[in-house]
């Protein structure tokens, strides 16, 4: 499809990201991505984005995860950019990230005022938060400046902050037909892509390590026990990658997106354990050192598998879908009955 374009994006973004592993926010890296416009890929130009499609953006999201870089591309372009575009609101200046929770809002004849607490990853580094806001039955997308932030981190050291709002005035807002459930689905799609990217980093590192590391006078890769583990790792990583890719296609085509994303996130979250386990086992004690890059990838796997619903959550959703209209097989393959 857009294979050539994706190759170009991969090469350009890969060059920016190479060697920039970090757990926290990397401001210099974000500036490099912003200078080239990659930070707003997949966000329509009409609202101030860089244009391009969902799968173009997914290439960047995947690579940031693969390089375990400190760039909130998922919470920014993938989530906040999507909310803004759906509401027809312009992308505000600076770093903008999405709130994962709906916030109570009210209007006193003037602009929207928001009050409450909301999970906002990376909030401490952001200038603006984009959030779903509810005033009774009315749903809005609202943009608010970042104010009070309670800091916390996930296992990978990535900011998982809480924004605290007390009658904060929205700098922009517009009604929208998105609810918290749809936002969660979008987040699960982002994490599926990221999990596949981090899993590929584990595979790549493992493949290199077993070819180089020698024990008993030969490379680890010569041992059949090691080969068997490595192949199982590659299989799981490929499954994660293809399911994320297929979910992106389904969302783009508006074709049974919920089943696709649920299956992809369930696959990615369950796969994270297999990938981290084999990756660490084959790296031996060396990969257990904080100085080794492997831990940055596995810590992300261990964190992201829970975020936006772990495999149990999405398995239950799939079970509900399979119990609805049509047969079990039509849930898997589409079509009637």
């Amino acid at each position: 499809m857009n294979d050539e374009l994706h190759e170009e994006i991969r090469a350009a973004v890969g060059a920016i990201l190479k060697g920039r592993t970090t757990s926290g926010f990397d401001g210099a890296l974000w500036k490099d991505l912003a200078d080239t416009g990659f930070h707003l890929l997949g966000v329509p130009e009409e609202v101030g984005g860089s244009g391009g499609g969902l799968r173009d953006l997914a290439v960047v999201v995947d690579l940031v995860a693969f390089h375990t870089a400190g760039a909130p591309i998922a919470e920014s372009a993938f989530l906040a950019g999507w909310l803004l575009a759906r509401a027809g609101l312009d992308v505000p200046d600076g770093l903008v990230v999405a709130s994962l929770d709906e916030i109570e809002a009210h209007r006193r004849g003037g602009p929207l005022l928001l009050s409450g607490r909301a999970a906002v990853p990376w909030a401490r580094h952001a200038d603006h938060v984009v959030t779903l806001a509810r005033d009774g039955d009315d749903l809005f997308v609202a943009v608010v400046p970042v104010g009070e932030v309670e800091q916390a981190e996930n296992l990978a050291g990535e900011p998982r902050d809480t924004a605290v709002l007390d009658d904060v005035e929205a700098v922009a807002s517009a009604p929208v037909g998105i609810d918290a459930d749809e936002l969660r689905l979008r987040g699960a799609l982002a994490r599926s892509v990221q999990l596949a990217g981090a899993a590929r980093a584990v595979l790549e590192s493992t493949r290199r390590y077993v070819a180089e590391r020698e024990q008993f006078g030969r490379p680890l890769a010569r041992f059949q026990a090691v080969q068997q583990h490595l192949a199982a790792l590659a299989a799981e990583v490929t499954a994660m990658r293809i399911s994320a890719d297929a979910a992106l296609l389904a969302v783009e085509a508006h074709d049974r997106a919920e089943v696709a994303v649920a299956a992809a996130k369930a696959t990615a979250s369950a796969g994270a354990h297999v990938v981290a386990t084999i990756g660490h086992q084959l790296h031996g004690a060396l990969g257990y050192s904080a100085e080794h890059h492997l831990g940055a990838a596995t810590a992300r796997l261990w964190s992201w598998r829970e975020e936006f619903g772990n495999e149990a959550h999405w398995q239950d959703r799939l079970a509900a879908a399979a119990a609805g209209e049509g047969s079990w097989w039509s849930t898997v393959s589409g079509g009637a009955r």
Binding site: R207, R222, L230, I242, Q315, A323
Partner: protein, 383 residues
């Protein structure tokens, strides 16, 4: 990174979706008419030549063959759409399975014009069935160790040897077998060739092998100085190994590598309708996610094949994951449903009784999973 990068997800086009719906309707009608009862592993166990001919009449066999050989000029992805419906429904497709999946593309690619005209139209009509003669008593996973020998004689070849685990040789019309034409066993992959041999040959003896399910799917095929015409050689003398390897991507990545036990899962999921067992629901969800992903993988490999590539590593990887899933389905249904397997019984008890004794085969046939993982490791460049 050949194992992961070369694949991309595939979205079925309009022709595939239309075919899927047609096949699904046909299968619903056939099932309602009592033509078949869904069963697990039907592609290996349930042979029904009448049903095969019916599929042939619908244009659903030999789909990718050119029309001049009786085929239908369809894409491999359209064939995928048909095949996955047949498998998910547990329809009796074993009679034509090997002919349609493997021998049609192989004869088309490697065969002479005479061989094509002789075999392909019959395959497409669902009237000409095939067996594959690969394994031998001393050549299982180590296929290059085959001892069956083809000696050039006046006007043809004289073949002597024993093939083992030959699926369907008791009803097939012909067998494609791998034999050594040149060199010695130590030459390994060099010197092997493929032959198409008529199974009604007086010097070819088919003996049943009964498996632990008490059934007869497999055979021993003994060739006792069987003289065949020169035209029995398939493809290039000495290139048998390369030809076999090219078939493997077709053989290993298809939907039969993850859907063998789908009829059992389908039956269980239907039974759970309207119930509220959270443990069972989560397990259905887990298996559904896995099946969805495996289907996407299998489709991605089919798309790569359709694009003219030969994704052997990816195919091996699909079979490793998919065949383990097939066993996982059986174990999960058994554990959570709490139904005792009962041969011949209706419902889950009977389906479980059919599926359980087949589980060892899932990770053995078409190359053991250990061999497949070696293929993947080699593809990753570490072996």
């Amino acid at each position: 990174m050949t194992a992961t990068i070369d694949l991309a997800a595939h979205r079925p086009g309009a022709a595939e979706l239309q075919l899927r719906d047609e096949v699904r309707q046909f299968l619903d009608d056939q099932r309602a008419a009592g033509v078949f009862r869904p069963r697990s592993d039907a592609w290996m166990s349930a042979a029904d030549p009448t049903f095969s001919r019916r599929l042939g009449a619908r244009g659903w066999l030999g789909m990718t063959l050119p029309a001049r050989y009786g085929g239908h000029d369809r894409s491999p992805l359209e064939r995928f759409a048909v095949v996955e419906e047949l498998l998910a429904a547990g329809a009796p497709v074993a009679a034509h399975w090997i002919a349609d999946r493997q021998m049609a593309p192989s004869i088309l690619r490697n065969g002479t014009e005479e061989q094509r005209l002789r075999y392909l139209p019959g395959i497409a009509r669902g009237e000409c069935f095939f067996a594959i003669g690969m394994s031998e008593p001393d050549a299982g996973s180590d296929l290059a160790a085959v001892r069956t020998r083809a000696r050039e004689v006046d006007g043809g070849w004289e073949i002597t040897g024993t093939k083992l685990w030959t699926t369907g040789a008791h009803f097939a019309h012909a067998i494609v077998l791998l034999a050594r034409t040149d060199g010695a066993p130590g030459d390994r992959h060099a010197g092997l060739s493929q032959f198409v041999v008529d199974l009604r040959h007086p010097a070819v003896h088919v003996r049943p092998i009964t498996t632990i399910d008490g059934e007869h799917h497999f055979n021993e095929v003994v060739l006792d100085h069987a003289v065949v015409p020169a035209g029995a050689l398939l493809g290039v003398r000495g290139a048998g190994w390369r030809q076999v390897v090219a078939e493997l991507a077709h053989e290993r990545s298809g939907p039969e590598r993850f859907l063998s036990t789908a009829p059992l899962l389908q039956a269980w999921a239907s039974r759970l309708r309207g119930t509220t067992d959270p443990v069972a629901a989560r397990e259905v969800g887990r298996l559904t996610a896995r099946a969805w992903t495996l289907r996407q993988l299998s489709l991605a490999v089919a798309a790569a094949l359709a694009a003219g590539r030969s994704p052997e590593v990816a195919a091996a990887l699909v079979k490793d994951l998919g065949s383990r899933f097939e066993g996982d389905v059986v174990e999960t249904v058994r554990r959570v449903a709490g139904v005792e397997p009962r041969p011949g019984a209706d419902g889950l008890a009977g389906l479980l009784a059919e599926a359980i004794p087949h589980t060892p085969a899932f990770t053995l046939r078409g190359g053991t999973n250990e061999i497949l993982r070696s293929v993947v490791a080699r593809g990753l460049g570490v072996r």
